[in-house]
Structure formats: structure tokens, C-alpha cells
């Protein structure tokens, strides 16, 4: 069985550190790839730009997506990712600070699988990440790999 990769799309280093700590605290030890903005995220997923040549048949098991990103924002990334058959079925969890209804609605409309609001209280954050990891990485059966 191959290792399940988690793709964390997050511009804030603080949030990155906190997210990684939360994953670690929950004993989620999967490899985490961190990208800083929407462009980089798409490059990674589609094997373009700085990730030119990456084997795109191997896609992250879980994509954690922040909405507020430099260059290309989270919703746009989600839209493009769903439009490409390689990533159309990958589980995407929106992990964001925003509690705007509009954001939540747009995310689900564009095909997000979950929407988690980052609480300020870190204890709650750890708890939330724990639940998420357990569900998406352990319980959930991912889509069958067609082009493998």
C-alpha cells in the first residue's frame, strides 16, 4: 500500500505550523506536501511549473485548502481542480478562517467535500483536525485509481 499524501494549501506559515502540529497531535503521520499559493497548488496537482515532470497519476489522498490565497484564491483552485479529470474526484476539505455563508455555499457548489472553520482556540482546532483525519484518511474509501 502506498503512503497517503496530504496536500496542504496554506499561505500562512503560522497556520501551517499549527496545522502540522494538530495533525501530529492526532498521530496523523502521513506525508504532508505544503504549497504557498493557488498557482503552486495547481502546478503541483497538474505537474506544471516548478513541479514539471511530477507523476500526476499519483495524487494526494486529501487536499486541505485555504480559501484566502495569494495569486489564485482557494475557490478558483477548487474550480480548476474539479474541472480536471485527474483531480476531479479527490477529497477536498476547505480549511478556512472565514465563517461567511457565501464562502461556505460557494465551496460546496464547486464540489468541496467538507468545510471546516479554523477555530481560534487551538484545542478545538486539534480536535477538529483529529476528526477530519480519522474520517478522510481512515474511514473514507477514496475513488478508484483509473489511470494507474
Amino acid at each position: 500500500m502506498e503512503e497517503k499524501i496530504i496536500l496542504l494549501i496554506e499561505d500562512s506559515t503560522d497556520d501551517e505550523a499549527l496545522t502540522l502540529r494538530a495533525l501530529k497531535k492526532n498521530n496523523i503521520l502521513n506525508e504532508v506536501i505544503v504549497v504557498r499559493d493557488g498557482v503552486e497548488a495547481l502546478d503541483y496537482l497538474f505537474g506544471t511549473g516548478q513541479y514539471d515532470g511530477r507523476d500526476t497519476s499519483k495524487q494526494p489522498e486529501l487536499i486541505l485548502l485555504d480559501l484566502k490565497l495569494p495569486k489564485i484564491d482557494g475557490l478558483e483552485v477548487l474550480k480548476r481542480l474539479r474541472a480536471d479529470e485527474r483531480t476531479a474526484l479527490q477529497p477536498v476539505v476547505v480549511l478556512t478562517t472565514s465563517s461567511e455563508e457565501q464562502d461556505m455555499l460557494s465551496s460546496y457548489e464547486l464540489g468541496a467535500n467538507s468545510y471546516i472553520r479554523k477555530p481560534v482556540d487551538f484545542k478545538q482546532f486539534i480536535e477538529a483536525v483529529g476528526h477530519m483525519g480519522l474520517y478522510w484518511l481512515v474511514l473514507n474509501q477514496g475513488p478508484p485509481r483509473v489511470n494507474k
Binding site: 500562512s12 503560522d14 497556520d15 505550523a17 499549527l18 502540529r21 484566502k68 478556512t96 478562517t97 472565514s98 465563517s99 461567511e100 479554523k118 477555530p119 481560534v120 482556540d121 487551538f122 484545542k123 482546532f125
Partner: protein, 798 residues
């Protein structure tokens, strides 16, 4: 006739009938020498004859009054008893009278003969017996006949007023009796006289006497027949007494040339005339009634005392009285003012013939006391001697006409006033488009005085450019087919062109023919100018509004972007602060002393409070944005859900909730949940220090508006700070006492304001607080505590 007088006279006649024959009979016997005086005295002194005579006297005195009792009774009761008994008694009387009288006479002969044979030496021969019989016959005629007629006449007199339909003793009977009996009397007297003088009486004498008698009877019968013929026409009347009106009068035609013939002829003509005049009378009566009853004007016929004799149906309808109610009443009853009646009375006595007919208007009064004006035509009715015998009044109700006249008058006055006072110009035109009338307002508009304008053709106020337009209008107007409204240019006296609005109405006569035109004129030059200016201003204003709206939209967008950033960018650092503080505590906690750890806890608390503050602020800003989704909202259910939540979060708290059921209102469900959550959370929070906390949610209705309230018995607050209550970040308690962001009530107020309603509070330190809100518009009592107190008294919870 007095019954006593009648009885006395009747008895006198009867006694005469029975007493005269013996006197006269014996007188004749002595005169004819049938018996000697000696013999007569002997007969009369013997008991047979006096007993016979006296016996009859007693009998008749008892018998006849008894037979005639019905007649005397009838007289006594003045005709009240049965008249048929009276008639039958009278009818039977002649039978009894003659029967008894002739019996008396016949027996008298026998009694005299018997007395003579028994008491004297007198020898009776058949001749002597015959002579006695003749004497009795003579006496019977001499006494019986006149007295009989006297008695019948007495009956006739006594029976005045009694209807006798059939004659009791006919004239023919009387004629026969006189015609037959008088010769018999004369002949018998002659026979007796001749016999006495000559002592000679043979069979021949007797036969001659008998022949004469038969001739007399025969002649009497012929005479009677002739008499009967004369009477025949009158006899037919007897047979038709029941229905004289239907009798054929030709039967009355005279059949004789005597007086009776003449009388019956006259009688026939009289009856004919009467019948004709009767027919004429009933005809004219019917005609009169038809006219009288069908006259739509009221007609009253009264006597000279003005007592009503006759009224027609129109009167009963006009006054509401029935004809019966009016009959015999004085006409004063019908006058509204009795003084009017008196005045009419005075006039009545001015009996000059010229005044026999008058016409006047009078106010009358109906039965229901309402009054009306009647035009009255009064005529004096006179008899053939020009004496006034009555008054005829013909009344026409002219109230309607009077009202119409008055209305017309008022209308004319009003119209005149309008014409003079209206700010609208009024022009009346004749059919040639010349001015007929010109009011003061139009003088002002065109500058021409009325004198200058009247009679001029319209062209003097029409500029050349408008002539064609106006002429076509005029042609439509006089055909009454159009041109009723127009706005066109006109020319004033000073040569200025003005704009006028015209409202034209063709004037038509009763047949619909146009006879002129009236125009109402409004000078709208100024108005048009103002309208133009207004339009310009409006355009500018619209531009301005558009501009401002655009700016506002931009600002709104910026604001949205700002709050979006706030939601993200302010929270991210907080998360870092909290997250790393916790990491520090977890990873390096043991390297710090208690104070150090406490500081880190404080850092985390600060971050937590800041996060809360940001969330509340976001909510507050979000409430102002977005559309209000109104619908039916169940306040009671929302309250119960929130309370369940609170109880779950802090299961240790014991708060008694009292929530009225079925509270509903119209509003945005989502916002009202936030509102109720804020109010109930506050109530929950501020009653924390109460041992028996109590929260009531209810509603009251005031001035038709529903007011909801949340009441607690918690910490309350000082009313002098009530004004600060709903401001953002305004707190009346310290954080140590009661934590909070100071945004909750600001949110509540904003939600209520977005619904167009009002919110206010009432409280007392340590005695709880009550928050009122209503989602219905314009609550005049916002913040008025005295009214609020009044309301609290009326709170009902169920």
C-alpha cells in the same frame, strides 16, 4: 189615534148597530100598522123580547173587542206588534159583523112573532110574517150599511202607517152594495106604504117588487163593471206594489173617460217621468262619482259651516285620513295653522257674488302632522236662489313644485356666485362664436373688460397661428361631437401670447339642439413654465441620485471587503497567538514557573475574547447586509429551542422559564433567532447569581400592536444608563462580574430596526430587567418608561 178613543168610538158604533134596529123596527111596525100600539107594549113588557135584545148587547160587548184585540194592541204599542194579525182581524171583521147582525135581525123577527103569539091574541098569517121580514130588511139596510162604512172608515183612520197591500173592502163592493141595496130599501118602503094604505097585496105586487129588485141588482152589477174598468189601471198597481220600479207602465194606460181614467193616465206619465229622472239621476251620479273619484287633485265638499260632507280618494291619500274620519269634521282640522282657517272664514262672509271663486296657496297638515303646500281653488256652491249651500275646495299638493322652485333659485344664486367669484375664466358664446357673457376672471386673463368683449367675435383673442385649430374645435362643438377640451395659445389685449386650457360645453335646449357654448378658461402659462423648471430639476436630481447610489454601492462593496478581511485577517493572528501559547504550555510548560504559565493562560484568554468580539462584530455587520426574508415566525418555539440549548450547555443552572405559547409574528426567522438568542442568553447570564432565577417570555397587545418581552429577575441595571444600553461595545457591567462583548444588544437593536420596529428596556438594579420589542412600525412609546410600567401591569403569560 189614541187607543182609548178608538175603542170608545168603535163600541159606540157597535151599540148603535144593535140598539137602533128595535127602535126603528117597532117604529116602522107601528107606522105600517102591522101591530097596534097595545100589542107592541104587550110584546115589549113580556120577558122574551127584552131578554133577546139585552142578551145580544152583552154578547157583542164581549165579542167584538176580543176580536179586535190585535188592533187595539197595535195602537197601544205604536206599531211594534205584528201587523199581519191586525190586518187579518180587520179582514175578518165584515164577515163577523154582517153575519151576527143579519142573524140578530132574522131572529128578531122570530122573537117578535113568538112574543106576539104567546102573549097577545094576535094571529100570524104568512103575509104578516113577510111584512115583518121586510121591516127587518129595511132596518138592516138603514142601520147596518151606514154604520158599517163608519166603522170601516174608523179602521182606515186608526191604521195610518200600516202598510195595506190588498184592499179590505174594495170600491167595487161598496158601489155594488149602494147600487143594489138602496133600490131594495126604496122598493120595500114603497111596498109597505102601499100595503098599509090600500090593505091590498097580491102575488102580482110581489112579483113586480121582485122584478124591480132583480133589475136593481143587475144595473148595479153593470155599473160596478164600468167602475171596475175605470179602476183597472190602478188595480194593476195593486198587483205590483212589491216592485213598482220594474212595472210595465203601459198597463196604466187609461181604459175609461172618467176622472179615474184621467188620474191613471196622469199617474202613468208621472211614473214615467220619475223613472226617467231616476235613470238620469243615477247616470249623472255615476258620472259624477267617476269624475270625483278619479280626480288627482283633492276635492272637499263641505257645508256652509265648513263641515265636510264629501271627500274624494285623492284627499284621503293626500292627508292620510280615511273618508270616514273626515266626514262631519270642520275643515280647520286640515290646516297647518288654524289662523289661516279663521281668515278664510272671514272671507266667506263677504258674500259678494264676484268672490264665489278664489285661488290661493295654503299650508295644510296631514294626519301624521307633516305639512305641505297646497294650491287651492275654492268655489261657493249655490242653490237656484243664489243662496250659498256649500263650499267646494280643490287642493293640489305643490310641495314638490315649491321645492323645485327653491332649489332652482338657490342654484341660480350659486351659479351666479361661481360665475363672479371663480378664478376660472367663464365665457358664454352664441352660435356665431360671439361673446354673450364674460366674467371678472376672464377680464383679468385677457385684459378686456366685459363691455369691451360682449358681442365681439372670438377671433380677437385667437392668434393667427391657433386660428385653424380653434375653428375646427368650434365646428365640432356646435355639432356637439367634440372639442370639449383644448390647450392652445391665446392673445391678450396687450398683445402677449399666453397658454390657456379650455373646457368647452355646448348648451342644449330641451330638444337637444345646441344653442350656444360655455367655456371655462385657465391661464396655464405660468404653470407650464413651472412644470418645465420642475422637469429640469427632476432630471438633475435623478442624475445626482444615480451618482450617489453608485458611490454608496462602492462604499458598501468596500465595507463588505473590509468585513471579509476582518473575518480572516484578524482571526489568523489570534489563532497563532492561541496556538503557539498552547504549544508553549504543552512543550515547555514545565520549564516555566506558575506565574509564567498564568501569563500564557491570560494570553490565551485574551485571544479567545478577541475572537468572540470579532464574531459578534461580524454578526452585527452581517445583519445590516442581505435581504430581509419575512415570513411567519413562531417566537414561542424559538425561545424554547434556545432555552433547551442553554440548559444543555450549563446543566448545573436552575432557571425557571415561563414562556407564553403560540406567540407568532411576521419577520425574518434567522434574524429573530439571533435576537431571541441574545436576549435569552443575557437573561440567563444576568440571573446567574440568583438562587431562584426566573425568566418570562410573553407578549402584550397595545394600540393594536403586538409587543414581546423578555423579563428576568437578575442583576438589572441603573435606568440612567439605559440610553447606552443598545450601543455597540457599551457595557453596564464589568467583565469580572458578567463577561460579554457589548455587542449583543446592539445586534438586537439592529435586528429590530431592520424590521422597522422598536426595542426598549426597563430595569432596576438588583431587581431584574425587562426587554420589550415590537416588529410593527413606528412605536411612539420607545423609551417611555412610565408607559412601559403601565404595560408590565398587564402582562399575561400562559
Amino acid at each position: 189615534m189614541e187607543p182609548a178613543g178608538f175603542k170608545r168610538r168603535f163600541l159606540l158604533f157597535i151599540l148603535l148597530t144593535w140598539n137602533l134596529p128595535p127602535l126603528i123596527g117597532f117604529g116602522f111596525i107601528m107606522l105600517f100598522g102591522v101591530l097596534t100600539t097595545q100589542q107592541i107594549i104587550e110584546i115589549l113588557t113580556m120577558p122574551v123580547e127584552p131578554i133577546y135584545i139585552l142578551g145580544w148587547q152583552v154578547f157583542i160587548i164581549w165579542f167584538f173587542p176580543k176580536k179586535l184585540r190585535p188592533l187595539t194592541d197595535w195602537l197601544k204599542t205604536r206599531g211594534a206588534t205584528d201587523s199581519s194579525l191586525v190586518l187579518s182581524a180587520i179582514r175578518q171583521f165584515p164577515l163577523w159583523y154582517w153575519g151576527l147582525f143579519l142573524l140578530y135581525q132574522s131572529l128578531a123577527v122570530i122573537s117578535v112573532v113568538a112574543a106576539a103569539v104567546l102573549h097577545t091574541d094576535f094571529v100570524i098569517t104568512p103575509l104578516i110574517l113577510f111584512r115583518f121580514a121586510l121591516v127587518a130588511l129595511i132596518v138592516s139596510i138603514i142601520v147596518g150599511l151606514p154604520i158599517f162604512f163608519l166603522i170601516m172608515d174608523l179602521f182606515g183612520k186608526a191604521m195610518g202607517g200600516l202598510v195595506v197591500k190588498r184592499p179590505i173592502v174594495t170600491i167595487r163592493t161598496k158601489v155594488f152594495l149602494i147600487g143594489a141595496l138602496i133600490p131594495l130599501l126604496i122598493d120595500s118602503m114603497l111596498v109597505q106604504y102601499y100595503w098599509t094604505r090600500t090593505g091590498y097585496f097580491t102575488t102580482e105586487t110581489f112579483v113586480v117588487w121582485l122584478m124591480l129588485e132583480l133589475l136593481a141588482i143587475g144595473g148595479s152589477l153593470i155599473f160596478m163593471r164600468s167602475f171596475g174598468q175605470s179602476l183597472a189601471p190602478l188595480q194593476t198597481v195593486l198587483n205590483h206594489t212589491e216592485d213598482l220600479s220594474t212595472m210595465d207602465f203601459s198597463l196604466l194606460q187609461s181604459k175609461s173617460t172618467d176622472e179615474l181614467g184621467v188620474i191613471s193616465g196622469s199617474y202613468q206619465r208621472l211614473l214615467d217621468m220619475q223613472r226617467y229622472s231616476n235613470m238620469e239621476l243615477s247616470k249623472s251620479k255615476a258620472e259624477f262619482e267617476a269624475v270625483f273619484n278619479s280626480i288627482s287633485d283633492g276635492v272637499i265638499y263641505s257645508d256652509i259651516e265648513r263641515k265636510i260632507i264629501l271627500v274624494n280618494p285623492a284627499i284621503t291619500e293626500m292627508f292620510g285620513y280615511s273618508a270616514q274620519e273626515l266626514k262631519g269634521k270642520v275643515t280647520a282640522k286640515l290646516y297647518a295653522d288654524t289662523k289661516d282657517h279663521e281668515d278664510r272664514e272671514k272671507l266667506r262672509f263677504r258674500s259678494d257674488a264676484e268672490d264665489s271663486q278664489t285661488l290661493y296657496e295654503m299650508q295644510y297638515r296631514r294626519k301624521d302632522q307633516s305639512c305641505f303646500f297646497g294650491k287651492t281653488y275654492e268655489t261657493k256652491v249655490t242653490d237656484s236662489n243664489r243662496n250659498v249651500i256649500g263650499l267646494l275646495e280643490i287642493i293640489r299638493d305643490i310641495t314638490q313644485k315649491k321645492q323645485t322652485e327653491e332649489t332652482l333659485h338657490r342654484f341660480q344664486q350659486r351659479l351666479g356666485l361661481h360665475f363672479m367669484q371663480t378664478p376660472l375664466g367663464v365665457i358664454e358664446w352664441d352660435l356665431d362664436f360671439n361673446v354673450v357673457d364674460w366674467n371678472p376672471a376672464i377680464e383679468k386673463i385677457f385684459g378686456y373688460s366685459k363691455q369691451a368683449a360682449i358681442g365681439r367675435h372670438a377671433s380677437f383673442i385667437i392668434p393667427n397661428a391657433a386660428k385653424e385649430h380653434v375653428n375646427s374645435l368650434w365646428n365640432d362643438l356646435i355639432k356637439n361631437t367634440g372639442g370639449f377640451h383644448s390647450t392652445n395659445e391665446n392673445l391678450t389685449k396687450s398683445g402677449v401670447i399666453i397658454h390657456c386650457r379650455w373646457h368647452n360645453t355646448p348648451l342644449v335646449d330641451g330638444t337637444g339642439k345646441v344653442i350656444g357654448v360655455t367655456s371655462l378658461v385657465e391661464d396655464i402659462t405660468e404653470t407650464l413654465k413651472v412644470e418645465e423648471e420642475l422637469k429640469e430639476h427632476q432630471e438633475k436630481l435623478e442624475e445626482l441620485v444615480e451618482d450617489r447610489t453608485a458611490k454608496l454601492k462602492t462604499v458598501n462593496k468596500e465595507l463588505e471587503a473590509f468585513s471579509y478581511s476582518v473575518s480572516h485577517d484578524l482571526r489568523a493572528p489570534l489563532r497563532a497567538i492561541d496556538g503557539f501559547s498552547l504549544a508553549l504550555l504543552e512543550d515547555y510548560g514545565e520549564k516555566l514557573d506558575d506565574e509564567g504559565r498564568d501569563y500564557l493562560h491570560r494570553v490565551r484568554n485574551g485571544a479567545g475574547r478577541m475572537a468572540l468580539l470579532i464574531d459578534d462584530l461580524l454578526q452585527l455587520s452581517r445583519i445590516s447586509r442581505g435581504r430581509l426574508m419575512r415570513g411567519q415566525v413562531n417566537i414561542s418555539k424559538i425561545a424554547r429551542d434556545i432555552i433547551n440549548n442553554l440548559n444543555e450547555q450549563e446543566p448545573g443552572r436552575k432557571v425557571q422559564f415561563d414562556i407564553a405559547t403560540g406567540m407568532r409574528t411576521n419577520g425574518d426567522q434567522h434574524l429573530l433567532v439571533i435576537l431571541m438568542d441574545n436576549l435569552l442568553t443575557n437573561a440567563w447570564k444576568y440571573t446567574r447569581k440568583r438562587s431562584s432565577a426566573k425568566v418570562t417570555v410573553g407578549k402584550i397587545v397595545r394600540a393594536g400592536k403586538t409587543i414581546f418581552y423578555v423579563e428576568d429577575n437578575g442583576a438589572g441595571f441603573d435606568m440612567q444608563y439605559a440610553g447606552k444600553l443598545f450601543g455597540a461595545f457599551q457595557r453596564l457591567h464589568s467583565d469580572e462580574e458578567f463577561e460579554g462583548t457589548g455587542i449583543g444588544l446592539a445586534t438586537v437593536q439592529r435586528i429590530v430596526h431592520r424590521h422597522g420596529g422598536a426595542v426598549w428596556a426597563e430595569a432596576e438594579v438588583d431587581h431584574g430587567a425587562t426587554f420589550y420589542f415590537s416588529l410593527e412600525s413606528a412605536m411612539a412609546f420607545t423609551g417611555n418608561t412610565s408607559q412601559v410600567t403601565d404595560k408590565v401591569g398587564k402582562i399575561t403569560t400562559n
